[in-house]
């Protein structure tokens, strides 16, 4: 088993209302000088086999990410 980390982020150019809301909340708490805030998912998977990163990539294509609105990256932990 090796651990693979999949990161799924909203695609550039796609509005991220959640990120905006968090940015607003942070600003209200007094955190100034805040630029963009983007919120995505981190998925940690324990995968068996010779090519865990390849398997995870396959998982992304088939389920974990929606290419219309999300970009993903895969890396070993």
């Amino acid at each position: 088993m090796s651990q693979v980390v999949v990161t799924v982020m909203p695609r550039k150019g796609v509005l991220d209302p959640q990120g905006q809301a968090v940015r607003g909340a942070l600003t209200q708490l007094g955190f100034d000088g805040l630029g963009e805030v983007r919120i995505g998912k981190r998925i940690e998977l324990d995968i068996a086999g010779d090519d865990p990163v390849g398997t995870a990539r396959d998982m992304c294509e088939r389920l974990l990410a929606n290419a219309l609105i999300e970009d993903y990256t895969v890396e070993p932990a």
Binding site: P17, Q18, L63, N66, L68
Partner: protein, 212 residues
């Protein structure tokens, strides 16, 4: 009597109300279980009801859209059969690629349960009961992730929010059909507007699209 298969996933919530609405209009509702690779024998139309299939985990509708029964729904649609997805069912159809676009988090960042006015944007599909363009229907929405996102040119908008749109859909889109018009998805819940006692009968105009 049209035989309407109502797809049931773990976490489907509106299969019973949908079946009641179909039966109330003279159709026959049968259950299509998510794990089956085929639709029930004699299925003439398919309804994917609302709910939180697979707990809305990962992305709404994503896990359900990959289940065995969806292959059969795809074949049914490709053969010109009618398919209606309501709320989570709409999300499933988008995730399955049977309708364009995706449903994203509401602009309010909260669940919204509200009776809404919907305007007929395209009178030439089976899904608005022949009501003219601009006619207004009263049907409730209830969702967390109901903001349709995509290229409006790629879609065939059938219903738009009339007046306010707390969800923040592109072009105020509430429901779309595929090019051929046989597959339809919408976020509002027509099955909860098929009974005068509940305040509106307008949902029958949408559900009627499933029935011969």
């Amino acid at each position: 009597m049209t035989r309407v298969a109502i797809v049931r996933f773990p976490g489907s919530l509106d299969h019973d109300s949908a079946a009641r609405a179909v039966a109330g209009m003279g159709g026959t509702a049968v259950e299509a279980w998510h794990g089956e690779p085929e639709l029930p024998a004699g299925t003439e139309a398919v309804l994917i009801p609302g709910g939180f299939s697979y707990g809305d985990h990962l992305r709404c509708g994503a896990i359900a859209s990959r289940s065995p029964v969806m292959g059969a729904v795809g074949r049914h649609a490709a053969a010109g059969g009618r398919v209606l997805g309501i709320c989570n069912g709409f999300q499933v159809l988008c995730e399955a690629g049977l309708l364009p676009g995706a449903l994203r988090r509401n602009a309010t960042l909260s669940f919204v349960c509200r009776q809404m006015d919907l305007e007929v944007a395209d009178a030439d599909t089976p899904w608005t009961g022949g009501r003219p363009r601009g006619a207004v229907l009263s049907i409730p929405v209830k969702n967390n992730e109901g903001a349709w996102y995509g290229d409006p040119a790629s879609a065939r908008p059938v219903l738009r929010y009339h007046g306010e749109d707390p969800l923040g859909s592109v072009d105020h889109i509430a429901g779309i059909a595929n090019e051929a018009g046989n597959v339809m998805g919408l976020m509002p819940h027509p099955e909860e507007a098929c009974d005068a006692l509940l305040g509106s009968m307008d949902g029958e105009l949408v559900i009627g699209g499933l029935l011969r």
